[in-house]
């Protein structure tokens, strides 16, 4: 051992060969060093050392080195190959320094680690002041930053080492305060700000500060994003971010290790490991991503669901492909729950929306109603059971009243459309379609009890197709087809299963008096009872009469389901009203038909019915009196009618005198009949049938959803109400004409009464004349008192005649006024009615005549 050392000393320091003292001294030194424990703790594996060495060599040399290494490993002589290699590596490290041209100038140990022991000889040897030499060489090789660092080190204010800062920065990236750089929360708004440690012992140079500030933006954004973990997607994005940080951390620890062993070995540090600048490059892409996320998160704090999706959709119109790609990706993820909800809604009609994020909202209050519906349906079964259309039990009626108006409320109110939650890429018309589709399916399922169809349908639709953001055209197609299928199905259910058309027809023929024979029968049967005071009428009598009318007319061929819904009843009456005022027909519909024929619509039907019923009554009354008067004229009133004077000698003077009056009455009566006929024809032909045709057009086309059907039915009703009741669009005067027409009706009835009185008078007079003739012939058929009565009524004659005249004059005036206002009516059909009434310019000429007369008078 010492021999070998001796040899070494001699070999390396030739001077020692001659100088015994120097030789022994050097040997002693060397032994001292060997016995010290430099690096003895290191247990390094040969591969690692080889790798280290290789990394320092040029490519060519490294190849050669590998070659040699292979050969060396083949040799089995050496037991400590790694040690040998380490030895050579250590020597090479020092000799790899800027090549010493003049070996003596090399400051070999001056920059060695503090752990390397200073040999004793150094103090005693002829060492030149190393500091000076040192400074000179470093100035040549070191950068200004390094110089500054060393200067500060010397002045006891060391710069914080970059590795420490690096660790701090990595913490910052995760939103955690580091040792030297901290996040502090602002007092006012809770915003995070980055502050640097103000300890005077440590100095952070300004560029480093700037760099750290730039990096810490990411940490700041991270804190914001993670606070509002918006969705699953952001979470996965954040996971990727964590991964990046983990990678960076491992890099840092490696470079930290490298730094430990390679302290002073500058070139190594520059080639591998992490620095603040590298970190900056690494996280650069993430900064943009984080910013996007943060922006989204900020914007989405207050919104959810559809609104959120539209908000993010707003960012997809970005010129930057990165931003666009990112938002697309984000949107794809964010919209997933939306599309899942959409899919369920669109294909099964179920609203599964636990956080109410969808643009369709369920109305909680109505959610339970579907069960009531099932109940009312069961109720219908009971009603069918008793077979009659009366359905008289009040209990049941109340029950069905409760559920009666549910259909429409359920349809319109169970789900609501929330426009603000609609994603902007869907578009409102599409949104409406989606809304309607789901609503239809839901309605089919719960209100029409046809869930099987929905289930199979949804299975068919589902196959292999998932709705996605990235497939918008496909989405549009699916929506369109689903909409059409669902709407058509719902309409089919209404028309076929629930026989909506039958009900509509029934309403038309009964309530709108479309079925003339039925109406006539009913009118005839009720004629007497309706003239009595309202409080003497009983409902069971009415229903019995109704049944009789149905039996005796073609109505009995209608399906029993329709007939049992028809009912007659009285409305609330007040004192003094007679049967005509309170009688009404009724048609009961139940769920789900009442979705279309809603209670409001029913009211309109009843309103029209009242009007038409009045018209019918007037018309009936007129024809009845015409009948009587015409017949009477033949038998006793007008002797001139047949041109044959029967018993002319005996004919009463009174009756002869009244002949002119009767003629006048017949003229007025036919004028009235013309008026009523035209009015009725107008209502039935021009209004009801035309509106019906429009409705049927819609039904046969089946183009649209249930909403469309409801709307079509509403239009149908509204149109009829407007035209039959002659409603004018002028505000405040809507029913002006209607009132006039009603007064006219009353007027006609009064006239009819007056004419009847006259008729009775004439009849009595004729009877008196007859009895007089009998008296002449010696036959006594009449008592004295009767004769007295007749003479009494003879006093009444002028009064009766006056009344007849008065009413006929009034009628003419009113008819004229009505025709006149109809001519100025805004509605074209109503104007046409005036043409119908006034086809021969009858009313017009009169008025003009009057004007002409006045004009001539004035002149």
């Amino acid at each position: 051992m010492s021999n070998a050392l001796h040899g070494l000393v001699v070999a390396l320091v030739p001077a020692a060969r001659r100088d015994e003292r120097l030789r022994s001294e050097l040997t002693e030194d060397a032994l001292h060093i060997l016995n010290s424990h430099i690096g003895s703790s290191r247990q390094v594996d040969i591969g690692h050392i080889a790798g280290n060495i290789r990394s320092k060599l040029s490519a060519q040399d490294s190849l050669r080195f590998s070659n040699l290494m292979g050969r060396l490993l083949d040799q089995d002589l050496l037991t400590r190959k790694h040690a040998v290699l380490q030895f050579m590596a250590a020597l090479s490290a020092s000799s790899n320094q800027p090549q010493p041209i003049i070996p003596p100038l090399v400051p070999s140990i001056s920059r060695s680690s503090p752990s390397s022991p200073h040999p004793r000889s150094r103090k005693s040897s002829i060492a030149p002041p190393p500091q000076m030499v040192n400074d000179r060489t470093t100035t040549a090789t070191k950068s200004k930053a390094q110089l500054l660092r060393e200067y500060r080190l010397r002045h006891g204010r060391p710069q914080v080492a970059e590795s420490v800062l690096l660790r701090d920065t990595l913490y910052l990236l995760q939103g955690i305060s580091g040792k030297f750089v901290k996040f502090t929360e602002g007092k006012g708004d809770g915003e995070l700000t980055v502050t640097f440690s103000e300890e005077p012992r440590y100095v952070l140079p300004a560029p480093t500060r700037a760099l750290i500030l730039r990096l810490s933006e990411l940490g700041h954004l991270y804190v914001r994003v993670s606070k509002w973990s918006l969705s699953h997607h952001l979470q996965s994005q954040l996971t990727e971010y964590y991964r990046l940080i983990a990678v960076l951390e491992s890099q840092m620890s490696q470079s930290g290790a490298a730094e430990d062993d390679g302290r002073g070995g500058g070139p190594r540090e520059e080639e591998s490991g992490l620095t603040l600048r590298r970190l900056e490059v690494w996280v650069d892409e993430w900064r943009l991503r984080m910013r996007m996320m943060s922006v989204c998160v900020e914007g989405c704090q207050d919104s959810a669901g559809g609104a959120l999706v539209s908000l993010i959709y707003g960012y997809t119109d970005n010129g930057d492909p990165f931003v666009r790609g990112f938002t697309d990706q984000l949107l794809e993820e964010v919209s997933k729950p939306f599309f899942q909800t959409l899919q369920r809604w669109l294909f099964t009609g179920e609203l599964h929306d636990p956080y109410s994020e969808f643009f369709v909202a369920a109305n909680e209050e109505l959610a339970h109603l579907q069960y009531t519906h099932a109940y009312s349906n069961a109720n219908v079964g009971v009603l069918t059971g008793d077979g009659g259309f009366a359905g008289a039990e009040d209990e049941e009626r109340n029950d069905s009243d409760e559920t009666r108006n549910n259909g429409l409320i359920l349809w319109e109110g169970k789900y609501q459309f929330r426009k603000d939650m609609l994603p902007s890429f869907v578009g409102e018309s599409f949104g409406r379609k989606i809304f309607s589709t789901g609503k239809s399916l839901n309605f089919i399922r719960y209100s029409c009890h046809d869930s099987d169809w929905v289930a199979t349908r949804s299975k068919l639709d589902h196959t292999g197709r998932a709705l996605k953001y990235s497939d918008l055209p496909g989405l549009a197609r699916s929506i369109d087809s689903a909409y059409q299928i669902a709407s058509k199905r719902l309409l089919d259910i209404f028309l076929d299963k629930f026989r909506l058309l039958d009900h509509l027809k029934a309403l038309k023929s009964y309530l709108l008096l479309g079925q003339g024979d039925f109406a006539d029968q009913l009118m005839e049967a009720l004629l007497t009872s309706l003239s009595r005071p309202a409080n003497t009428l009983y409902r069971h009598n009415l229903t019995a009469t109704l049944e009789a009318a149905v039996r005796s007319s073609n109505a009995r061929y209608d399906p029993p389901d329709v007939l049992r819904r028809l009912d007659a009843r009285m409305m609330e009456y007040s004192h003094g009203e007679i049967g005509w005022d309170v009688f009404t027909l009724e048609y009961k519909v139940d769920a789900p038909i009442d979705t279309v024929i809603d209670p409001e619509g029913m009211e309109k039907y009843l309103k029209i019915f009242h009007h038409l019923w009045k018209m019918k009554r007037v018309e009936g009354a007129l024809s009845a009196s015409w009948n009587r008067i015409a017949c009477g004229a033949r038998s006793f009133l007008g002797p001139t009618i047949k041109g044959v004077r029967r018993r002319s000698s005996a004919h009463s003077d009174v009756l002869e005198r009244l002949e002119g009056e009767w003629h006048q009455i017949r003229v007025v009566l036919s004028e009235m009949i013309h008026f009523m006929r035209q009015l009725q024809a107008f209502c039935q032909l021009e209004v009801i049938e035309c509106s019906w045709k429009e409705l049927m057009d819609f039904v046969t086309k089946k183009d649209g959803d249930l909403d469309g059907l409801i709307q079509a039915h509403r239009n149908y009703l509204d149109r009829m109400v407007k035209k039959i009741l002659l409603i004018s669009p002028k505000a405040g005067k809507e029913e002006h004409l209607l009132i006039q027409v009603r007064e006219l009706f009353n007027n006609i009835l009064q006239f009819r009464d007056a004419a009847e009185t006259l008729y009775n008078y004439c009849l009595a007079e004729a009877a008196r004349a007859d009895s007089e003739r009998d008296h002449d012939r010696g036959v006594f058929t009449i008592s004295e008192s009767d004769g007295l009565g007749a003479s009494k009524s003879a006093d009444n004659l002028p009064r009766i005649l006056r009344r007849v005249k008065e009413y006929s004059g009034l009628f003419t005036e009113r008819a004229q006024a009505i025709v006149h206002s109809l001519q100025l009516h805004q509605d074209l059909d109503c104007r046409f009615l005036s043409v119908r009434l006034n086809f021969s310019d009858f009313y017009k000429t009169r008025k003009e005549l009057k004007a002409a007369l006045e004009a001539s008078k004035a002149s």
Partner: protein, 71 residues
């Protein structure tokens, strides 16, 4: 010293050749004999880093001595 090395088997010779090549490659500036000495020392259990330090130290001393002579 060299005579003793000469007596070694050819395989030892070869090993040394290889090591010498590596040493050349790494620019350790050790001649063949010195390298052989060092390797044998390391084989006998000397701490390689310490030995490297010794070599450096001796070189430095030598340089100082030379410088002293020149001065």
């Amino acid at each position: 010293m060299s005579s003793r090395d000469m007596n070694r088997t050819s395989s030892a010779q070869e090993t040394l050749d290889v090591l010498h090549d590596i040493s050349q490659l790494l620019n350790t500036q050790l001649d063949r004999e010195t390298l052989a000495t060092c390797v044998s020392m390391i084989e006998s259990g000397v701490n390689p880093e310490a030995l490297a330090t010794v070599i450096k130290e001796l070189r430095r001393e030598n340089a100082n001595l030379n410088a002293g002579k020149q001065d």
